[in-house]
Assembly symmetry: C2
Homo-oligomer: 247 residues x 2
């Protein structure tokens, strides 16, 4: 499995993805699930960030396809004028990669070749935009009502983000909620694991303000894991006991 979250806030965008992949429980490896497409200057200046969940071969196929097309096609991910076009390019690449994988299987296996992406970023002369792209190739865009998306093993880590994140939430606060959300997810699901890749893209900077990898040794992450667990236990202890149950 996987856990990825992306948020579109007034200050800018935040992306975080775990990096554990597994086929069954004994074939576990580390692969980053975060990809960037950047043009550093000029009229096509942009910073696009994608995080992915699902079949590793398919997701790598999607990224390779988009990079290869940027060398040969006239319109591609490095020069389209809008993030909407970027979402469409991802959608097409996902459909192509999945149907290619499904057509080529040797036997009727039960392998799931699907994948999904969260794709966001900013292109010069456009506002930052964030999309969730489905295995079917269609997509939805984040709004001020729903400023964040999750893919993969999303349920354990959803409550804290639901409680904290609004478009006006300061970036540092949102980042903290993402870290707590990863802690909850990793506590309950073995298939989501460190390191966590984090990328922050401030509005109108058009390049990453932070690229950071949270590893096992990260003192901050260790610290909030412990503090959050202790804090939860304290709040729980402080809750009253049901007045309708007596020993």
């Amino acid at each position: 499995m996987t856990y990825c979250v992306a948020m579109s806030l007034h200050e800018g965008m935040l992306f975080a993805s775990d990096s554990r992949t597994n086929a069954g429980v004994d074939n576990v490896s580390t692969f980053s699930k975060m990809t960037t497409f950047e043009v550093a200057d000029g009229p096509h200046q942009r910073c696009i960030v994608a995080v992915n969940a699902g079949n590793l071969a398919t997701t790598q196929g999607v990224v390779s396809q988009l990079r290869r097309r940027a060398l040969v096609d006239e319109t591609h991910i490095l020069n389209t004028p809008s993030m909407f076009d970027v979402a469409e390019l991802f959608g097409q690449a996902i459909k192509t990669a999945i149907s290619h994988a499904e057509e080529n299987q040797l036997t009727q296996s039960s392998v799931d070749f699907t994948c999904s992406f969260l794709v966001g970023g900013q292109i010069r002369n456009e506002a930052p935009r964030l999309f969730q792209i489905y295995p079917q190739g269609n997509f939805i865009e984040a709004t001020s009502d729903t400023p964040y998306f999750q893919i993969g093993e999303s349920k354990y880590g959803k409550p804290i983000i639901d409680r904290v994140v609004r478009p006006e939430t300061p970036m540092a606060e949102a980042l903290k909620s993402a870290m707590v959300s990863f802690d909850s997810t990793m506590k309950s699901n073995l298939s989501v694991g460190l390191p966590i890749d984090v990328l922050i893209l401030k509005r109108d900077h058009l390049k990453p303000s932070l690229r950071y990898r949270v590893t096992e040794d990260d003192a901050y992450f260790q610290n909030i894991r412990k503090a959050w667990g202790q804090g939860l236990r304290q709040v729980f202890q402080g809750l009253p006991q049901p007045d309708w149950f007596h020993h």
Copy 2:
């Protein structure tokens, strides 16, 4: 969907189930998902509690079948000497009900006829025992390592129970964790709803010590929902911000 939890503790057993059923989003009704089978005295004295998730017609079929068999069969749920036999009777009844439903469908519909149960209780001369029974009819038993089971929409409400519940946890504490667990689940999933049926079965009492229905008006539940939310926000505010991200 559904959310049910059952715990087997040193003090006794706790069962809690929501009561929302839905076919799609516009056919929503209230049905209790908790059933008891009781023999009040005599050599077969027992109190057995079942909570269920899955297809409502199938779960009702399972319960009806077990009650009907208790009138005609020689060995049945009201006289078997062990909870293990009760789990087997449930397993058989589930398999029968599901295959009956599947055989009788008029067309190849996509209806899911499966269901699962948590079944626990105590029979005179035996310790309390708790089982999770799968749609396939097989089952697992709770142990001191894993003293609780959940069925239905279980992920949102799992972290708090994981953090709190051990076999030695006092019943009032376990009940509190169940209430917080339902709050988290209902916050994130519309298909789980009030009222919540709660039943507590103290060890060796062989009859319920508490049967309670938590409704919208329950002051205690309203109170802990609010206090838990506020407490979480306070703990979150108190966590430090990442030292590797600066504005």
